[in-house]
């Protein structure tokens, strides 16, 4: 039998990848982006940038836990969607909001702690997106893997950026912190699952579960 060109997972990822942009366009065209459309755009795109970033961070641990190998092939698409929304997000603020004017710097906006975190995240995602293609992977050899480990850092800085962009205090557990907290916990879990001892433990667990399942009389 001929192998299908696209797997269901792949199709789902691409549908989900374009849906936020489609939603924005439809909302924009129907004048439905709240009375503060620039803010609506920057929040929507920022939110989806972190969602895709978290999903891309989830691929490896989920494979470790459940042996879903196809996920490893989908990391790149998820990472690129994250970069796409991060770029739109950055442009909506620096471009739409500040009209690319120097005020972004002179008013001190660029040096606000939350902004530095956002910019840092973007500056990490940028080279990762550029070098995400096979050609670079081959050319860079083992350096590629090292470079792409930076995505963990991006996960952390993105969560901090999110938390600091909201009126609250993540450490003091007060204010508008529910969503940033959810992402903080998710990203922390995903990073912990990558620590070598945890990872070994997780794959042993997986082996055991599989053995039990297999030896069970049907």
């Amino acid at each position: 039998m001929k192998k299908p060109r696209y797997t269901p997972l792949q199709i789902s990822i691409h549908l989900f990848g374009w849906y936020p942009l489609a939603w924005l366009v439809v909302r924009g065209l129907t004048d439905n982006l709240t009375v503060n459309p620039i803010q609506a755009i920057s929040q929507w795109t920022g939110y989806h940038a972190i969602i895709f970033l978290t999903l891309s961070l989830a691929c490896t641990p989920l494979n470790t836990l459940f042996g879903w190998r196809e996920l490893l092939k989908r990391r790149r698409a998820l990472g690129l969607y994250s970069f796409m929304y991060a770029s739109l997000h950055m442009l909506s603020f620096v471009g739409l909001d500040y009209g690319f004017s120097l005020k972004f710097f002179t008013e001190g906006t660029a040096t606000k702690p939350y902004m530095l975190m956002g910019i840092t995240t973007f500056l990490i995602l940028l080279p990762l997106a550029i070098t995400s293609f096979k050609w670079w992977m081959k050319r860079m050899g083992s350096g590629w893997k090292t470079l792409h480990k930076l995505v963990y850092l991006a996960g952390i800085t993105a969560v901090i950026h999110f938390a600091w962009a909201k009126k609250g205090d993540l450490v003091g557990l007060s204010g508008d912190i529910v969503k940033p907290l959810v992402f903080a916990i998710l990203v922390a879990l995903l990073l912990i699952l990558r620590l070598p001892p945890v990872r070994r433990w997780a794959s042993q667990l997986k082996q055991k579960t599989f053995t039990i399942l297999k030896t069970k009389p049907v």
């Binding site: 909001d97 009209g99 606000k112 009126k167 609250g168 204010g175 508008d176």
Partner: protein
């Protein structure tokens, strides 16, 4: 700049011209917001089931007004003012507030005024509306998140109410408290805020002519999402100082705690005067976006009310007292 500030001294917005009054009354009548026999002084108070006052007003098409503030900027539309609200008692989603607020029932309503006063008293909202002349005031509202609107409020000066209860000489501050009804206000179920909302003013700030107890909007009653039935409006301070749905006003000797100060004290000080020069750790306060405009505009000192209020803070370091 100077010229502009000078003519701010008597807010022209306080005086509603007769023709503006009639045209506004006409459309309110058309919208069924005021009953036909109501006088202007009473046009705010008449509760009308199903009207704007019940938070369902956001679907009522109230035409944009051609009024402006004293700087010549047009007022925001009723739709903008009632569909983009920071009212965390309902939700942190600014559009969601209008959707959730119809469940809130602001009647009957009483406001307890007490503390260091000679005549403590609990007022029904009807009493307050009848006792004090309800005037229209067009004020700028500047949110600490760096957006702003121009809003035609109805209300009366807080100072008039304070005089009625006769503060003692020991009273130095006024403390305000919002109603606590987690059943009707789902945001109050969040454990991450020290509910109920509370705010405070120094006594001289509270007595200032510009400080309003808002009871209405666009000539109608205050919609739920804007803080029905009575809220504070302090136009030279960031929006969160203007506490909504007030049930308690207390005169006290010590500077009262405020909700946002308790959440993050380094960001939200007691004074929270709009000040483009005092930087906020989270956002730059140098500029703002007026709702309805795409380009940022410069933020004005004391939100453009410098002439009237700067003397309140003479000799104070506003960077320390942020």
């Amino acid at each position: 700049m100077d010229n502009k500030l000078k003519h701010v001294a008597v807010p022209s917005s306080e005086i509603t011209s007769e023709s503006a009054y009639f045209s506004r009354r006409d459309f309110l009548k058309a919208m069924g917001i005021v009953s036909a026999g109501a006088l202007l002084a009473a046009c705010a108070p008449k509760p009308q089931p199903g009207g704007a006052a019940n938070g369902t007003g956001n679907s009522t098409p109230v035409p944009a007004s051609d009024q402006t503030d004293e700087l010549g900027d047009p007022v925001n539309s009723f739709d903008e003012i009632t569909n983009y609200n920071n009212f965390y008692e309902f939700t942190t989603d600014k559009e969601g507030v209008a959707r959730l607020s119809p469940k809130f029932n602001p009647k009957p309503w009483t406001v307890e005024v007490g503390g260091l006063v000679h005549k403590p008293q609990t007022f029904g909202i009807e009493d307050l509306l009848a006792m004090f002349d309800q005037k229209e005031r067009i004020y700028r509202l500047r949110c600490v998140e760096a957006w702003s609107m121009v809003i035609p409020w109805m209300g009366f000066e807080l100072g008039e109410l304070l005089k009625a209860v006769e503060p003692m000489a020991s009273a130095k501050f006024v403390r305000f408290e919002t109603v606590y009804r987690p059943d009707e206000m789902p945001g109050q179920r969040s454990p991450f805020y020290p509910w109920p909302y509370q705010e405070g003013l120094r006594l001289d700030e509270a007595y200032h002519r510009l400080t309003l107890l808002g009871t209405g909007l666009y000539g109608g009653m205050l919609p739920n999402q804007n803080g029905a039935p009575i809220r504070l409006v302090v136009p030279w301070k960031y929006g969160f100082k203007s506490i909504k749905s007030i049930v308690k006003i207390e005169l006290v000797e010590e500077q009262p705690a405020t909700l946002w100060n308790a959440v993050a004290s380094n960001e939200y000080g007691f004074y929270s005067n709009v000040n483009p020069e005092v930087d906020h750790p989270r956002w730059s306060q140098a500029s703002e976006r007026r709702i309805g405009e795409l380009k940022r505009r410069e933020t004005l000192m004391f939100n453009g009310y410098e002439e009237e209020v700067a003397s309140l803070y003479a000799g104070m370091d506003l960077k320390v007292n942020y």
